[in-house]
Amino acid sequence: MKSYEFGLWVFMLAAFLGFELIRRVSPLLHTPLMSLTNAISAISVVGAILITGEKDAPTLSLVLGFIAIFASTTNLVSGYLITDRIIKMFKKREPEKK
């Protein structure tokens, strides 16, 4: 089987799964959801590492890869941290419940 064929299987399943998962997210959390998916999209860092770290990478790859790693790391770090910061704000007031 060709490898892109496997890619299509994986894409189809992941897209369905994404729909089911996101549809369930409470509107309360749509803002942190946006920053979380932002952070997840920083997965490009994987591709960036692969092209930058390669043996004998040409200068073009090095330069573009460097920028790409920088850009996705920024996303990665700020995305997770800000999501965490937002999530921490959501709390039930404990004393009121008891």
Partner: protein, 483 residues
Amino acid sequence: MDSVLPALYILAAAGFILALKWMSSPATARRGVIAGEAGMLLAVIGTLLRYEVVNYQWILIAFFLGSAVGVPIAYLTPMTAVPQRTAISHAFGALAAALIGTAEYYRHTPHGFTMGALVLETLLGFLTFTASLMAFGKLQELLPTRPMTYRGQNIVNLSLFGLAVVIGVALVISPEQTWMFPIFMTLSLLFGILLIIPIGGADMPTVIALLNSYAGLSASAMGFVLDNNLLIIAGALDGSSGLILSIIMSRAMNRSFTNILFGAFGQLHASAAQATARPVHSATPEEAAEILDSARTVIVVPGYGMAVAQAQHKLRELFDALTRRGVDVKFAIHPVAGRMPGHMNVLLAEADVPYDKLFEMDEINSEFPMADVALIIGANDVVNPAAQTDKTSPIAGMPILEAYKARTVMVIKRSMSPGFAGIDNDLYYMDKTLMLFGDAKAVLTSIVKELGAVPRAVENGNGDRQLFHDVSTFTTRTAEKKV
């Protein structure tokens, strides 16, 4: 090693999936963030350990610089600026995807299906990059927020896009023609800019969600190029998330994508807001405090104005004061109140309002008729009865919070000027409506202060609370723009 690395990737993907799964409710959301972080960590480690990766110095420097920029962004961004941050972060993500595609093209010049994926990756990457930058500019008000339109705009944009697609196809057919690539790049970048120009600042949130979806698809395409399942999965999750959010938003605004992308909506109706001089009742903060104090149930409707005025903390103080006095206070959250999905929830959560006091539109609409006071703070379109009554209104059919059914309606805003949709609101002219003109934060501050001064209604010897005011006695003045 060779069997450990794939396992790391699979676990990373599972981490991302669990992250989204646990994001579904506040109780598990933190666990979700941790799962997402763990997934990312596994992905990065799994990549660094791959035997192809031999050159670490540039990688580490870029990591370091990225973190140095990312940490301050995360901690310094005020909650009201989250939409802008989201936009800029899409720009970064899309840029990364596009650059990786470019590097891969010049290095390996793939063919066939892989080249198709690469073209898609760079097209979406570059256009999302510039489009997100434009969106950032509009949200941050570095650029004029109103839609900029000119005759034949849609035709220009579509032909440009068509040209980019044609060159893209040509590249897939003969990838060796490297001279075409820079043209393709330039066209994609340009199209991103032109795409956003005609869209109003207030439509940006929907556009941003859509750009999120594009960025995700771009990452998925990268996965096909690099033959990497993890990228495909993360991209697909991202892509569907953006798509669903934009669908939710446009549905809550009762508009279609085409309308948002080509409609230049904000512009169209800005002119509809001629301040016809009609009388309204206005009240002072003292009077408002009295009314609130004597109410049994109050439903607060926050909107974009609360966000702009950063009034959420004062609102919490009001909530506390009223709750202490035995008033039942609830918050009604419209799905598109504010300027991004979940905007109000985040702000109120930031101000420590317990989230079990926040109610979605469908839950609370039946309660307005029983409410003594609907307190509307910087909201406008989301409570405009025209959506239900006036079939010709631009917001006709948009589901609204039925604040007009409350016994008394109080509205805090600075003037009679309209909101995002640019249309007048009949709610303000009703007999039971009181306008509290002023900045939301300032007005709320005064009300809270006055509440301290007013003796508690329940203590007036009269056990049961009763509304003792007659709205029609309040100052009547003629509506004029105040700003």
